[in-house]
């Protein structure tokens, strides 16, 4: 069995990009549908059976819309930032493993696009790069709402990124690797990390909601106060790219949570990627559930919660894990 040649990775990359895009499209449908049911509405039900063609209708609408931009906007940054957001969101899904790997035609085909030894750091690096898109995009569009949205994005992302990184420290110490594939293999040996790292999962998930700008931490785009935050001045497919990036970030974050805490593709029976997809779906459902249930935090509450609650809890969790890993 020979190792994976480069062209298999390429095929997998094309496949996964398309699958993630489809997942994103139907995530928007699912969100509107579930959110509607939770609020005693139907959600989209006109385009196709159960409104299943709604994402396609939305795409056509966004593509055909006028690509308006403000006269004072800084062209290159204004036009380039949605692309950066979309790129980093799609690229970060590359390192997330979704299957154990199979032997196909004499080649070993792994259930991941690429297995890098620093996968986790790569993910956080790409995530930080993606934040630039939100910050610079809002700043370059020369509008007070966009600027305020960008400022909030900047402050919120910086605050919660710290807690997010600290919360996975325990997993890294227990898995003794930064490669997500190794972490999943380790969990297959020792059991899922959700047990010993439950606090880590909680902190990771809460900080992750804040990182992806989802309610109740959607201050950067708080539509009731800031119109739409950093993408106020964006329309058409440029806005579409921003929202694509946001949803794909959400999917990636759920995938990361599944990989780090719930054993990735691991499950009682060998169902291939199905376990991963099921767990991913559960996380995405919780995202929607949160949006339907909780009101938005006030800005000072958000900051206080991030720095005074999440960060200490994550730090203590990491320290205790470190002591236990060394002691045991």
């Amino acid at each position: 069995m020979s190792p994976e040649p480069w062209w298999i990775s390429l095929i997998k990359a094309i496949l996964i990009i398309n699958l993630v895009m489809v997942a994103f499209a139907y995530m928007t449908w699912l969100e509107r549908k579930v959110l509607g049911r939770m609020q005693e509405r139907y959600g989209p039900n006109r385009a196709g059976p159960f409104g299943l063609l709604q994402p396609i209708a939305d795409l056509v609408k966004l593509l055909r819309k006028e690509h308006f931009y403000p006269a004072a906007a800084i062209d290159i940054l204004y036009i380039g930032m949605p692309a950066l957001a979309g790129f980093t969101a799609l690229a970060s899904f590359a390192v997330i493993p979704w299957g154990p790997g199979w032997d196909i035609g004499g080649y070993f085909v792994g259930g991941w696009i690429i297995d890098v030894p620093i996968a986790l750091i790569l993910l956080f690096a790409l995530g930080s790069l993606g934040i630039y898109a939100f910050m610079v995009g809002g700043w370059a569009s020369e509008s007070k709402y966009s600027l305020l949205g960008s400022m909030r994005t900047c402050a919120q992302m910086v605050s919660y990124e710290v807690a997010l990184a600290l919360s996975v420290l325990g997993v890294v110490m227990m898995g003794q690797s930064l490669s997500l594939v190794d972490i999943v293999h380790k969990q297959q040996e020792t059991g899922w990390f959700i047990g010993p790292q439950f606090i880590g999962l909680l902190v990771f998930f809460i900080a992750g909601i804040a990182e992806t700008n989802r309610p109740p931490f959607d201050l950067p785009e708080a539509e009731t106060e800031l119109v739409a935050g950093y993408h106020t001045e964006y329309s058409g497919m440029r806005f579409g790219l921003f929202s694509t990036a946001e949803y794909i970030n959400m999917i990636t974050l759920s995938g990361l949570a599944v990989t780090l805490f719930l054993g990735g593709w691991d499950g009682p029976w060998d169902l291939g990627p199905l376990w991963f997809i099921l767990k991913l779906g559960a996380f995405l459902f919780v995202f929607i559930w949160l949006r339907a249930t909780l009101p938005r935090l006030r800005y000072d509450q958000l900051m206080r919660f991030g720095w005074k609650v999440l960060l200490p809890v994550a730090t203590i969790n990491a320290v205790i894990t470190a002591v236990l890993v060394v002691a045991v």
């Binding site: 049911r37 609020q39 005693e40 509405r41 249930t293």
Partner: protein
């Protein structure tokens, strides 16, 4: 405000339970809510039973209109051309429905009950000019432009206040 974990979890339970409930949304083009008898929709001009118009072109409706959307040009009735029961009749009677606020003051001002506000409210047009209703359009039975194929199947159900009587 101190954290209230139990209440928060109760909130989550409520939203989760609602998924399995029935939505209360009324599906508009198929189902239409019954209108109240005094609902103020599109105007209608009326005729006497002998076919003469009730409107005598006095322009009181235009004077009462706060949105200034009614235009009346009166002309004398002649024995050859008798249009209304009075001395004069409205040669031109136009209502610009894109300006109208459906307040019903025209109805109150009219001394002959010639104009009333009826129950028609589906007044969308592709062009603003099409919203200027002329006298012929206001005198005629409203054209129902119901966006469903089978009108009998999906028309407004009988309101409860009509069922009772």
């Amino acid at each position: 405000m101190s954290p209230q974990p139990v209440e928060t979890l109760k909130g989550f339970a409520v939203t989760f339970r609602k998924i399995f409930g029935k939505p209360i949304t009324q599906q508009y083009p198929e189902y239409k809510r019954p209108l109240y008898p005094r609902f103020r929709g599109r105007h209608r001009l009326w005729r006497h039973e002998n076919g003469l118009e009730k409107c005598v072109g006095c322009s009181l409706c235009a004077a009462a209109c706060p949105a200034d959307c009614i235009r009346v040009v009166a002309a004398e009735n002649t024995p050859v051309n008798r249009v209304s029961a009075g001395e004069r009749y409205a040669r031109i009677y136009e209502i610009n429905l894109s300006r109208c606020i459906f307040c019903g003051y025209c109805e109150l001002a009219c001394p002959f009950d010639a104009i009333t506000l009826e129950h028609e409210f589906e007044l969308s047009e592709y062009s603003r000019d099409d919203l200027i209703y002329t006298k012929d359009m206001l005198l005629a039975e409203p054209i129902k432009r119901v966006p469903v194929a089978d009108r009998d199947l999906y028309d407004t159900p009988t309101p409860y206040y009509k069922e009772a009587s």
